[in-house]
């Protein structure tokens, strides 16, 4: 509860800091201080030292997993603000409001990590999405940003409508907003496949489709490239990492409770979704000319990998999603932080970066290797955990799913390595904006996190079980 209440309050504080503080760097400092405060607040509750107690009437269920995910999300946001805070204040005229919206998103994230009720899930998803529509359009003078914002808003509103429809149907079938398993009618012990009430299943399918939209999985991925490309790069970085991971956590939490006995049809549906997502993301990313757009498609592809947790739904999948959150968020925030500094967003814009900015190129290489899933980086173990969880869960399709996933991971190496190739092996004069010493230190810290988790993933997970 600490994280939910504090993030909402700090959002309000950020809102008013825009009136009180006249200098923009002071606003970034306030945001950093608030994030540290939020992190401390969440850690205090994690270790049971201090927490705000509210009788939630079973609407929220605070678990260790939720706390740990909150910590990861807040820490990732902290890193993000350290690296890109100066770029946030360059977008539009209201930097304080943008930071306030980021805090509101964190409020949504902490609801999604602990909801125990469809109502809370809906509110969490909405608190998370509505600020994003605005952040996407924060660059008001830019037509592409406007277009992206409008597209995202219209499609997002439609998918929210679908989700509400689904929740209404589930409520109609079961008479409760709880996330307990779908009640199986005619469940005969030892009998044939039990049948779930049709309304429940249809409702669940609606919610499923809407959540697929939120995590940008195929076949509901069409908004992703345009929105990620059109939004100001700083906010794309935030959207495609922390927010996406939170949507996944909600997705998994809902379905591991709700869809326990849906049998092979459910597994088949998951397999089809995963394969479609991997196919669309990876194959389209190969043909992109702009690094930003490539990253948008690669985020679809990574969503495909995260969906594995939804197929397996065991403890290993939960550990995997935590590892994936760290590996993917840190690497993507880093890559975007460097992208923002580039003058030219195409692959050619990176030509010769190794000569002009060797440190940036080296860190970027670590991040890209992690996204591609090369051993000794966090990305490898994130992917490994996901695939291992599928094998552990078993099922008729498990082994084929793993083989297909590995093939697509190999495809992804192609487009990630194109950036590395541009940086190291092509002649050119990559132009960057001014790069401060603090930025370089931040990048080094992130690269160190990636390598540390890549060498010793148990270190992170032990911390989770502490």
């Amino acid at each position: 509860m600490n994280a939910i209440i504090l993030s909402a309050l700090l959002g309000v504080v950020m809102m008013f800091s825009g009136i009180v503080l006249k200098s923009k760097p002071a606003i970034v400092s306030t945001a950093l201080a608030s994030l540290v405060l939020l992190l401390i607040g969440n850690l205090l509750e994690t270790y049971g030292i201090f927490s705000i107690r509210v009788n939630t009437h079973d609407m929220l269920d605070f678990t260790k997993f939720g706390y740990f995910f909150n910590t990861l999300a807040i820490a990732a946001t902290l890193l993000y603000v350290i690296l890109s805070g100066k770029d946030v204040i360059k977008v539009g005229n209201y930097p304080a409001d943008c930071f306030a919206l980021i805090f509101f998103v964190l409020c949504g994230v902490s609801i999604l990590s602990s909801f125990n009720n469809l109502l809370m899930m809906f509110i969490g998803i909405e608190i998370m999405s509505i600020p994003l529509y605005i952040l996407t359009g924060a660059d008001k003078k830019n037509l592409k940003s406007n277009e992206a914002s409008l597209k995202y808003f219209l499609m997002g509103a439609f998918s929210t409508g679908l989700m509400l429809m689904g929740i209404a149907l589930i409520y109609g079938a079961s008479g409760s907003f709880g996330i307990e398993a779908v009640k199986l009618a005619n469940a005969v012990p030892g009998g044939a496949l039990p049948q779930a009430p049709i309304l429940d299943v249809i409702g669940l399918m609606f919610v499923f489709a809407s959540l697929l939209f939120k995590v940008s999985a195929a076949p509901f991925h069409f908004w992703t490239p345009d929105v990620y490309d059109g939004a100001p790069s700083v906010f794309t970085s935030f959207m495609s990492t922390i927010v996406k991971a939170a949507a996944f956590v909600a997705f998994i939490h809902l379905f591991e409770n709700k869809a326990t006995e849906m049998g092979n049809i459910w597994k088949m549906l998951m397999v089809l979704t995963i394969i479609a997502t991997l196919l669309v993301g990876n194959i389209t990313a190969v043909f992109q000319q702009s690094v930003k757009r490539m990253l948008a498609y690669s985020s679809i592809a990574q969503a495909g990998f995260m969906l594995f947790a939804l197929y397996s739904r065991n403890d290993m999948a939960k550990e995997g999603i935590l590892l994936y959150t760290v590996a993917y968020s840190v690497a993507t925030v880093g890559i975007f932080a460097i992208l923002i500094k580039m003058k030219d967003y195409t692959f050619d814009g990176y030509n010769g970066l190794a000569k002009t900015q060797p440190l940036l190129a080296a860190c970027n290489t670590v991040f890209l290797l992690s996204l591609a899933g090369i051993p000794l980086t966090a990305g490898f173990f994130a992917k490994y955990w996901m695939l291992a969880s599928v094998v552990k869960a078993g099922g008729a399709f498990a082994i084929w799913l793993v083989i297909i996933a590995v093939l697509f991971a190999a495809v992804s190496v192609y487009y990630y390595f194109r950036v590395i190739q541009s940086m190291y092996f092509k002649e050119g004069n990559a132009e960057t904006t001014e790069i401060s010493q603090g930025f370089k230190i931040g990048l080094l810290v992130m690269a160190a996190i990636i390598l540390y988790v890549g060498i010793n993933p148990d270190g992170l997970l032990q911390w989770f079980y502490l």
Binding site: I4, A8, G11, V12, M15, V54, T56, H57, M59, L60, G92, N93, Y94, D97, C98, A100, L101, F104, C107, G108, I111, N117, L119, M120, I123, E126, I127, I130, P131, Y133, I134, G137, A138, K140, K141, L199
Partner: protein
């Protein structure tokens, strides 16, 4: 036939006739006016079911706000001309399928309640029965069981407001 039954049949007939008129009117503005009548008759049904609060909210939100929005859209898009575009066959077909699905599921619910479980057999109204639709029980539910979502949705509205200001303010 007592007063309640007379009212019930009158309101049902009114709702059906005006719903049909919504579809049959050539002029979109007339359709909207008929739709307002549909909402009024449905609100009448709510009152028969002892759900006064729902009835008033239905009038304020649907007959008030949403219908004004509809009228604005019709006026802004200049749809008031009395001409009908020929919709393509697939559109019609998908409309029939969607409407048919809704009809089947509604009939199913009514059939279950009426024939299978006999909960509603022989009932037309719940006058003076139950308190589910009154404002008192609603407030109690809102501030007891549902207080957390109720309070947290304020964050949602706050962020929407901040967003409106960010998007709408003059630079």
């Amino acid at each position: 036939m007592n007063t309640t039954q007379i009212l019930f049949w009158f309101l049902s007939g009114l709702a059906l006739v005006s719903a049909l008129m919504v579809l049959l009117s050539k002029n979109p503005i007339h359709s909207i006016l008929w739709l307002i009548l549909v909402f009024f008759s449905i609100s009448g049904h709510y009152i028969l079911l002892n759900a006064q609060f729902l009835a008033i909210v239905n009038l304020i939100v649907y007959a008030g706000a949403i219908m004004v929005l509809f009228l604005f859209v019709v006026m802004l898009m200049n749809l008031s001309k009395e001409k009908e575009d020929q919709k393509n066959v697939w559109m019609k077909l998908s409309g029939i399928i969607a409407g048919g699905c809704f009809l089947v599921s509604t009939c199913n619910v009514i059939f279950n309640a009426q024939v299978v479980s006999k909960e509603l057999a022989g009932k037309t109204a719940l006058l003076k029965e139950g308190s589910i639709g009154l404002i008192g029980p609603l407030g109690k539910a809102l501030f007891n069981d549902y207080v957390v979502p109720f309070e947290i949705s304020s964050v949602l509205f706050l962020s929407a407001m901040v967003g409106a200001v960010v998007i709408g303010k003059k630079d």
